[in-house]
Amino acid sequence: MTDETLYSLQKVSKGFVKGKEKITIFDGLDMSIEKGDFLAIMGPSGSGKTTLLNMLGGVDQPTGGEVWFDGSRVDKLSEGNLAKWRANNIGFIFQFYNLMPMLNAAKNVELPLLLTNLNSKQRKKSVEAALELVGLSDRAKHMTNEMSGGQQQRVAIARAIVSDPKLLLCDEPTGDLDRATADEILEMLQLLNREFGKTIVMVTHDPAAAKYAKRTLHLDKGEFVEKDLVA
């Protein structure tokens, strides 16, 4: 683990019991993500991609091993501290956007900032900047259900970056979009990575999407089968 390492998973295991059967997803998984990386994780269904993403996002805890983030161990954090850690460090982008339908675009983007100490003026400024970055300044007051899928995903990206997290986790971010829109979203993620230095981990089934990442890891049956495929 170097100073440039943002995330490190050491001998991580994860399993659960289903009925009388013990199912193991990961058994001694090692993984390292450098700061400024744009990593795509691919693999067949059931390979453990989403579980891995959930563990990276602190929404699921490993049953063994150690998880280090930016020099701090996070797998032992309590639920409350883990929530605070997520709010401070992680931005999430989901396949189905997961926006709050009763809030307009600006209010959706503002949500993570409610967990900070920013006052309303500072929040407003941050929201405007995030929406401008994703090209939706003119749609700030629009309800999200009045927007196209691509626009909704851009709102979701704005929400993910508004609090300036160190890591963006994307779960099939283009899975619900047509090719052209998907490319727009992926270019945006690439921009965030290149221009703003955001570390991004993206789970995808789509090889075309993975090409936007700096490197791709293939996961199968809980193990990385081929590493650093794309440089």
Binding site: V59, N98, P112, S120
Partner: protein, 429 residues
């Protein structure tokens, strides 16, 4: 079909315009002045905005749920005001006032001579006597609570409760046919001072065979407390006694004011002992006890009213509880997203509970406002009823019930949200 729906929407908007137009004007003013943005920012900071938006996201469901709570609190507010008014008859009874009636039954008379035998007793401050007249005005259905009283001592005993000017009292004492009327009954019948009115009795008749007596209204009294009933009227016993065809020199009951409530027991004993083993034995009780017994003769009003209120609350508990569980269950994945973003479980718990509190308090407050309206209508209705009041105690009690309702209906979905696992929640997307 769409045309009919549009028409219905507009009819609904026009009917409910008095309710929403003021809010609409306030909203527009807020937009122009920029106040709305400030309020919105504060609401967002506190999380209230999200709670409010969640609550109002399904207007039809919200309207129906609010209607259920609104109706329940309107019923609660109105019926409890009724109950309080009945209770006030007992609670406002003076502690130092006793009522002495015939031991057989309070409808049986007592000899008027008893009054002078009670007056000099130790501990008795003053004593007066009253006789039920069985009066009605113009129509036998329009029964008026009418008493023939000893005008000279009446205010000595009841002067602290019934307030009237000294001029009116003097006018009453100076006019044998003088009648003093309570402000409620005067308003109900359109009576004014100086008016001469006939009153009939459904019990007594005059010596000439008629059952109607003429009176001059000389004063209108009010209650020292707003809940003191002012539906009664009083006239001179002498006028009654001299003109009635039977039952002369008998009275209905004695009202005794003691020098100190601590002396009540002693006075009661003296009075009842004095008339023991006579043809007209007395039963003397504190006025509170007498009034309570009298009201209980109508039935257990408290039980009846409480049962109606309880039934209403039980129904809304089921309706609102179900509605809240459903509303939160529908938002499972959204709760999962909020938790993913870093909203802690206790914060989500507070937000869900806050939603049910807001629903309950908004609808309940509107219900209590409607109850105030109902009380106003009842107080001004042309029927003889005790004066209903929305007391601060009743309002506080209502808010307590609103909070309780909010808590009970919100606690299960709030705990579910608190315990909701993020992975499970997101998988329901």
């Amino acid at each position: 079909m769409n045309g009919v729906l549009t028409l219905l929407k507009w009819v609904f908007r026009i009917i409910t315009a008095p309710v929403w137009v003021p809010f609409w004007i306030l909203w527009k003013l807020g937009e122009v002045t920029g106040l709305n943005a400030v309020i919105e920012a504060i609401a967002m900071s506190t999380g209230f905005y999200v709670v409010y938006k969640n609550l109002t996201r399904k207007p039809l469901r919200l309207s129906l749920t609010m209607l259920a709570i609104f109706v329940a609190f309107t019923i609660y507010g109105t019926l409890t005001a009724f109950q309080n008014a009945f209770d006030a008859g007992v609670e406002l009874s003076a502690d130092d006032r006793l009522v002495s009636v015939n031991k057989i039954n309070f409808t049986q008379p007592l000899p008027i001579s008893y009054v002078n035998r009670v007056r000099p007793m130790e501990g008795v401050a003053s004593v007066t006597h009253l006789n039920w007249f069985g009066g009605y005005y113009q129509d036998p259905q329009n029964v008026i609570v009418t008493f023939a009283v000893d005008e000279g001592s009446f205010f000595d005993v009841y002067g602290e409760d019934l307030v009237m000017s000294e001029e009116a009292k003097a006018a009453w004492l100076g006019n044998r046919q003088g009648l003093i009327v309570g402000e409620s009954i005067a308003r109900l019948n359109g009576w004014e001072v100086g008016q001469r009115i006939p009153l009939n009795s459904n019990i007594f008749s005059q010596q000439d065979g008629s059952s109607d007596w003429d009176f001059d209204i000389v004063g209108i009294y009010t209650g020292s407390d707003p809940q003191i009933d002012t539906n009664s009227i009083y006239f001179h016993y002498k006028y009654f006694n001299e003109t009635q065809s039977f039952g002369g020199n008998f009275i209905g009951f004695m009202a005794i004011k003691t020098e100190d409530p601590d002396l009540n027991e002693a006075v009661i004993k003296q009075v009842d002992d004095l008339f023991a083993n006579s043809p007209f034995e007395t039963e003397t009780v504190p006025e509170k006890v007498f009034n309570k017994g009298f009201i209980e003769q109508i039935g257990n009003i408290r039980l009846i009213l409480s049962s109606v209120v309880l039934a209403a609350f039980f129904i809304i508990l089921v309706i609102v509880g179900n509605s809240m569980v459903l509303a939160v269950r529908e938002r499972t994945s959204e709760i999962g997203v909020l938790k993913t973003l870093g909203f802690t479980s206790p914060r989500i718990f507070r937000m869900v509970l806050g939603e049910s509190f807001l629903l309950s308090i908004m609808s309940g407050s509107l219900g209590m406002l409607a109850a105030m309206g109902m009380i106003g209508v009842v107080n001004n209705a042309p029927i003889q009823l005790p004066t209903l009041i929305m007391t601060p105690d009743l309002a506080i009690e209502a808010f307590t019930y609103m909070a309780l309702l909010g808590f009970i209906t919100g606690i299960i979905p709030a705990v579910n949200a608190l315990r909701l696992n993020i992975i499970t929640a997101l998988s329901r997307n």
